[in-house]
């Protein structure tokens, strides 16, 4: 049962990582346009190179 002393902190830590990732996606506005995002994947515009980052874009 000693293994629990490692496993429980590990599982809690992983849970927190997941939560942090969720909050990050939320802050970045990744849930703002679910319909559009699912359609944008069909768009071939940025297939070869990613969209260039513009100055002043936030």
């Amino acid at each position: 049962m000693e293994v629990l002393t490692i496993l429980i902190p590990v599982s809690l830590f992983l849970g927190l990582v997941g939560l942090a990732a969720f909050l990050w996606t939320l802050r970045k506005g990744m849930y703002d346009d679910p319909d559009g995002d699912s359609q944008r994947i069909l768009n071939a515009q940025y297939d070869d190179a990613p969209k260039p980052v513009k100055r002043g874009d936030s």
């Binding site: 809690l12 939560l19 346009d33 944008r40």
Partner: protein, 727 residues
């Protein structure tokens, strides 16, 4: 749609100000963010076309289309006007309305939604982690191990409840302070009590702790609340955005100097200039100028009315051809616009507040939760001869099982599914209870001009004219901005007619256009001025020398008008047409659409009275209208819909807004509304069924935390799945 948009960043004086100069060092021109509603976008192709085309447009830095909200955001130099973007989109084949970027950028509602989502996320992750530990307990962890697992669960659950449970605690406090019992109070009661009992059990190394059930309850309830919130927020912001179109401004003439002032500053006796194409801002009398006035939004008349010195004008009418100087006779509260607003307010207060199914269910169900568990506590105290711990445990189990997890999802899940479906069809729900009210409708009353018709004229008898007549007419019509002339020019142009060369073309405001053609005087305009005998229908008269001819017009049918009437009649709804227009025009349309029950020349109060009379006779009326003359009827009806092209007042008075050009979705909307109300009832029955089965088990003391968790998740999932069955 307003043709004049006021943007502070476009003001040249601001650029010259010293503060702006400091900014100009960094960017040559301040960029503006334009927001537009584009109701017809639906696929990847739309996104690519619009974004690519707009980013090639001069001055545009970037354009991004949000497909979920059907909203386009354009980052552009200040010189780019909204009208340019709208015109460009129009060429691509998309309708667009301007939105007010200021109120929409990062509003209070956005923050609220994000906050709710964050609480939901925290509850979700806490729930999963506690569940991991609970599964170990359920599968047989004992003694010190179980106690430690419970302790860790408590350490996760306590901060989670403190953070994620806040919306319920706040709602409960508010409700209790106002002296009413809604769902929040029993929910908060259950959450806090179960948490305390579980902590106590943990410290006593007891067998049962309900941490996972508490957090799960919060999670499902928050999910319901978030769905509910989102459906309402989308509708609210879109309603705001449509309302942000028109700035109530007027051009005041004082000693021959023009100044733009807010309508509120105008006083009786002021002189106001109304340019062609502009809306009359106040009630008044014309003191100079001749023109024609479009009253369709006020009265439903399609035919423009002649106005000259001495004519009385009402606020809301549109000036068509020549500039008019108007002396204000009534401003602010006394104007006819305001009198209309008063009528609307009266009609609204007369409409009894609708109690939704959810409210009725909550009212009936809320008190039973604490009552049942208190009852269980007392009975078990008696049976066990004062075993406090056993009685408290059973009370907690009862509390957590009766808690209306599925009930909290039952309505929002269905409403979200239904409003999403309607939104994709181009209908926006402004009021949450509108869907339920729409389901009860048995009578539909339509307005004519602007609702079943587009409110734009289309020439009908082009084939009756000779090539020469058409060529002359095109040359004259192209020189005017009058709606009949423009419609005629467009139609002739589309036929491939080429205009004849004319000399000395001039527009005579209020009468028409004239010019010289090979030495002969040619005129296009009003019958008397041209010298023709007037006909009964809308027409523009053409005079070449002394020979006269008439181009007749009909109002273009709104796309889907025939389908919507047929669809409604097929569903067994009574369809009425009530218009302020002349009997001839109304009869034509009624016959064309197969509406037997029509009424013409109805004043705003007549329309409202007719709606009220129908409702008194026990009918549930859906009113569909767009004009100022419809607003009273719109707010008096059981439920109301207006197209996006309607006046602010009409949109504000209605429960739903039709975003697209097509009116056909209305018939579908009634069907979907009926279906969703059925789903809501099914959901209530379903979650009630779970209670009927499991509450006795809890009361008898057989319920374990495993039971509670299983019942809660199964009932929530079935309720959600049922909502998704909506077709």
């Amino acid at each position: 749609m307003s043709t004049v948009t006021y943007r502070p960043s476009a003001c040249p004086a601001c650029d010259a100000a010293p503060a702006a100069e400091a900014l100009a060092g960094r960017a040559a021109l301040p960029n503006a963010r334009l927001l537009l509603s584009v109701p017809e976008v639906h696929c990847a192709g739309c996104i690519a076309t619009i974004e690519r085309d707009l980013s090639r447009m001069e001055g545009v830095n970037s354009a991004r289309l949000n497909l979920t909200l059907k909203r386009l955001s354009v980052d552009a130099a200040a010189a780019v006007g909204v009208q340019d973007v709208i015109a460009r989109l129009d060429r691509l084949g998309y309708d667009a309305h301007e939105l007010d970027a200021g109120t929409l950028s990062m509003t209070e509602t956005d923050k609220q939604g994000r906050e709710l989502l964050m609480r939901l996320g925290v509850a979700g992750f806490a729930m999963m982690n506690i569940m991991l530990l609970s599964v170990a307990v359920w599968s047989g962890a004992e003694g010190a191990t179980r106690d430690m697992f419970h302790l860790i669960s408590a350490l996760i659950a306590i901060p989670t409840v403190a953070f994620s449970g806040q919306p319920f605690f706040r709602g409960a406090m508010k409700g209790l302070r106002a002296g009413r019992m809604d769902m929040d109070a029993p929910i908060s009661f259950a959450i806090i009590l179960t948490l305390i009992i579980s902590i106590y059990e943990t410290l006593q190394s007891g067998e049962h702790a309900y941490f996972e059930a508490v957090v799960m309850l919060i999670f499902f309830l928050l999910a319901g609340r978030y769905l509910d919130f989102r459906a309402r927020a989308v509708a609210r912001s879109a309603a705001q955005e449509l309302a942000a179109l028109e700035v109530p401004r007027a051009i005041r003439l004082a000693d021959g100097v023009e100044s733009t002032v807010s309508v509120a500053e105008l006083a009786v006796g002021d002189l106001v200039l109304v340019r062609p194409g502009g809306r009359v801002p106040v009630d008044g009398v014309v003191t100079a100028g001749k023109s024609e006035i479009d009253r369709s939004l006020l009265t439903g008349e399609t035919l423009p009315v002649y106005a000259a010195e001495g004519s009385a004008l009402s606020a809301g009418e549109v000036n068509l051809t020549g500039p008019l100087t108007v002396r204000v006779t009534a401003a602010g509260k006394d104007s006819s616009l305001h009198r209309m607003a008063d009528l609307v307010a009266n009609a609204e207060s007369a409409r009894t507040r609708y109690t939704t199914l959810a409210e009725r269910a909550a009212r009936a169900y809320a008190p039973t939760i604490p009552l049942l568990s208190i009852g269980a506590f007392i009975v078990w105290m008696y049976i066990s001869g004062g075993d406090l711990r056993l009685a408290v445990n059973i009370a907690a189990a009862t509390l957590i099982i009766t808690c209306p997890c599925a009930l909290g999802l039952a309505v929002p899940a269905v409403v979200t599914a239904a409003s999403g479906k309607l939104f994709r069809k181009g209908l926006l729900i402004k009021d949450g209870s509108a869907l339920e009210r729409l389901a009860e409708v048995d009578t539909v009353v339509f307005d004519k001009t602007g609702t079943l018709t587009m409110g734009t004229p289309v020439p009908v008898n082009l084939d009756d004219h000779t090539e020469t007549q058409m060529r002359v007419a095109l040359a004259l019509a192209a020189a005017s901005s009058h709606p009949l002339a423009q419609a005629l020019a467009q139609a002739l142009h589309d036929r491939g007619v080429s205009p004849v060369p004319l000399d000395a073309v001039q527009e005579v405001p209020g009468y028409g256009i004239e010019g010289d053609w090979n030495g002969a005087r040619v005129r296009l305009g009003r019958a008397a001025w041209v010298g023709a005998t007037p006909r009964e229908m809308t027409a523009a008269y053409l005079g070449i020398g002394t020979a006269c001819d008439a181009f007749t017009f009909t109002d273009a049918l709104r796309p889907g008008a025939e389908d919507v009437v047929k669809g409604l009649q097929a569903q067994g709804k009574a369809v009425l047409l009530v218009s302020g227009d002349v009997p001839g025009a109304v009869r034509d349309l009624a016959q064309r659409l197969g509406i037997a029950d029509w009424h013409a020349e109805a004043l705003p109060q007549d329309k409202a009275d007719r709606v009220a009379a129908l409702q008194d006779a026990g009918h549930k009326v859906l009113m569909v209208g767009d004009g100022l003359n419809d607003t009273v009827a719109l707010s008096a009806a059981h439920v109301s819909i207006s197209p996006a092209s309607a006046l602010d007042a009409a949109r504000a008075a209605s429960d739903m807004v039709l975003l697209g050009r097509d009116i056909a979705p209305i018939a579908d909307a009634i069907r979907i509304a009926g279906q969703s109300t059925r789903r809501i009832r099914e959901n209530f029955v379903q979650s009630g069924l779970y209670n009927i089965i499991f509450v006795p088990i809890a009361l008898l003391g057989f319920a374990t935390p495993l039971w509670a968790a299983a019942v809660m998740s199964i009932s929530s999932i079935t309720v959600t799945l049922n909502a998704l069955r909506l077709k």
